[in-house]
Each structure stands twice: as structure tokens, then as C-alpha cells.
Symmetry: C2
Subunit: 205 residues, 2 copies
Amino acid sequence: MNKPSPQAAYIHCYEQIRDKILNGELPAGMKLVEERLAAEMGVSRTPVRESIRRLEQEGLIKKKRVVNPTDEELRHIFQVRILLEGFAARCAASYMDEATLGRLQQCIDIARKGDDQETMLANKEFHDLIVQSSRNPEIVSIIDRMQSIIYLFRKAVVYYKRPFLIDEHQSILDAIRARDAARAERLMQEHLQADLDFYLHLGRR
Amino acid sequence: MNKPSPQAAYIHCYEQIRDKILNGELPAGMKLVEERLAAEMGVSRTPVRESIRRLEQEGLIKKKRVVNPTDEELRHIFQVRILLEGFAARCAASYMDEATLGRLQQCIDIARKGDDQETMLANKEFHDLIVQSSRNPEIVSIIDRMQSIIYLFRKAVVYYKRPFLIDEHQSILDAIRARDAARAERLMQEHLQADLDFYLHLGRR
DNA sequence: TTCGATAAAATTGTATACAAATTTAAAGTT
DNA sequence: AACTTTAAATTTGTATACAATTTTATCGAA
């Protein structure tokens, strides 16, 4: 009755390498050498190799190097987010239950008065809850993948203090609460577009 | 069929296994055993293993078995297509050049009078050309992945003779030609919805 | 029979060795 | 210097051995 061991090497490796990429320990552009990573984690090349391949397919690694998304790639990714998260917001307006609506409001409240870390997590949860309300695993997984790549592009935590970001979240929630699907979708799309513009503006500094 | 053949085993394996899944040689539900496939292709388990992992990530294999998408999974996949291909149709109406418009018309003409195989290819090209006109590699690759899974669901070639399918293509092209982005998007979405309904109807027989 | 326990077989996960390919360094020539 | 060419080194791709795990088969008891 035992579930797959809590840490099969190939899973553990994948998660660890992924984390190191996302937290910057393996910086953008860095060449990933199987043997070095394997030694670092005390395993053989085999599970490391699988992990790299998987991360390559997810778009976090390209040609054995940590990706450094260009402005254009970022625009492409955001276009997908705009379409899918816009739809998710529409679903939320139609189907989201009271408990989750309450949790969305909590996310906004936490983001308003919390520290950087709390704000970041609350803002992320806000989006995740809406995406999940699409009840579509394909959409959830596509968005999750893209959020990781976007995370990589973020140069400064400052982002989570973007002016109006939390106000926009509040407007979206208001539309969802009012069960106004069209408005929720439009506001989400505008919100993401503003996000993209902010990223691109940060980019050239 | 004779391109400078990819001599790398892991690429060749991936393509061959993928083909066998799509053409039914490896039928839905079949357990894929690394050693058996390796022997069949005259290589070791290593490249076979990588191929299986990749196909697993693409959604053609689940738990070492060729997937058999449920109605619900099919709906989820089509929802993504509706959103992304709808957007692509909008882009096509805005940006598509004369040459490509001409090619779209050819696809329709071929599909009307060709045999099953020609019709299938022409209909597929029609969609591919529109998706490509989004000029967004992320969208192209997501749709490509989903089309493969849908292909797996198709029980009969009959599909490509679905009533009105080609007429719907013609209407979409007309809207694109007229540079009517909103209408092109709406027609594409309705077209895909009709496709989905047809599949689901086929399913319970 | 049906059920559960358990032994046997099959299959996967991991490490390792070696060959093929790629990258880096070194050398000589202009 | 800059530019090839060649040698050395690094790194990847593949095969293979073995351990760990999962699946299947077998047996006996209720």
C-alpha cells in the first residue's frame, strides 16, 4: 500500500533543479552540466538527465542553458495568459462559490498590508484560484508552466508593488462577485496587459 | 519521407513511437514496455525511455499506457483550442497575406473533391495555417500537442466527412478575407464546438 | 469458489562504462 | 595580432548491469 517513495531520485532532482533555477541559484544563461549537478546532489547522471530533459520541455531550459526570455517571448507567453486567464475569470464569475470568493478577498487584504513575501504569495494565490475555477486541468497546467517562465524574467521583487495591481485585483473580484462574466474577463485581460507592459518597461533599464 | 534522417537514436525513437501511437499500431490503453520497444527498434532502453517520458509529458502516454481520452478530457482540450484558435482566426483576419489566403482556398477546394487522405490533410493544413498566423510559437506548439491527442480519439476517418465541416471552413475563410476579425473568431469557435459535439456523439455508439 | 499471503517473474529506476560528439585549448602560419 | 588547423579535454548519447519495485502467478485456508 506504499505510495511511490517520498523521494524517488528523479523526482527529487527535478524539483531541486527547478527550484535552483527559479530562485536564481542557477542564473539565466548558465550551462547545465549533467555530471556537475549529479555530483552536487549525490546521484548519478541518469536522474539528472531526465530532469533536464523535462525542464527543457517545460521551457525553463533551452539547449542545456537556463532560459533568458526575450521581450518577444514574454509577449507570446502573456498572450496565452490573456486568453486562458480571461476565460478563467469568466468561469469564476459564473461558478465560483462563496468560500472561494471570500478567500480571494483575503488575498487582496493580505497583499495590501503584508510584507513583500506575503504580498507575492497572496497575489499568486489570487490568480491561481481564478485559474482553477476554470476546472480545466489543461488550462491550469499551461498557466502554471508559463508563470514559471515569467517568474524567471522578473528582475526585482518590486514588481509585486506595481501601482494599481492590487486595485485591479479588487476590481476583478468585484466583477466576479457581481457575476458579470464579460466584465470579469475584460478586467483580467487588461490587468495582464498592464502586467506585461510593466515587465517590458522594467526590462529596458 | 527522406529528409536528412535524424541519426540520433533518441529522436528517431521518439518519432517512431509517436507515429505508432498515432496510426494505431500501439492502440489506446496498451502498456508500453521499454525493453520490448527497444528490442523492436534495435536500440537500448535508454533512448526508448527518454521518448516515453517525453510523450508522457505531451499527454499521449499516461502511466506507461497509450492514453484513451475521456469525453471530459476531450472537452477540456477543445476548450483550449476554442480560445487559442479563435484568437488565431482573429489574427488571420488582421494580418494574413494574399498568398496564404489563396492557399486556404486551395485547402477547401482539395477537401471538397479529394479522397479521404487528401481531404484529411487539406483540412488539417487549413487549421495549421490559421494557427500559424498568430505568429506565436507557444500557441502553435500547444495546439499541435492537442491535435495529436484529439487525433487519438478519432475512431473513424469518417470524421473528415462531417456534414458542413468544409462549408464552415469556407465561411471562416470568407470572414478572414473580409478582414472581419470578430466574425472570423466567432465562426472558428462555433466550428470547433461543432467538431467537439460530433466527436462526443461518435463516442457513444 | 474467493480470498489473502507469498513466491516468482517482469519491469522500472539508478549507476556506471564507454563511444560519439562537441567544446576548448594549443600550435603554427600569414 | 588574426586565422586555421589539430590535439586535448569536456560533455553528451547509448548500452549494459544490477538493485528496487511492481506485477503476475501460485498455493492453501476459510
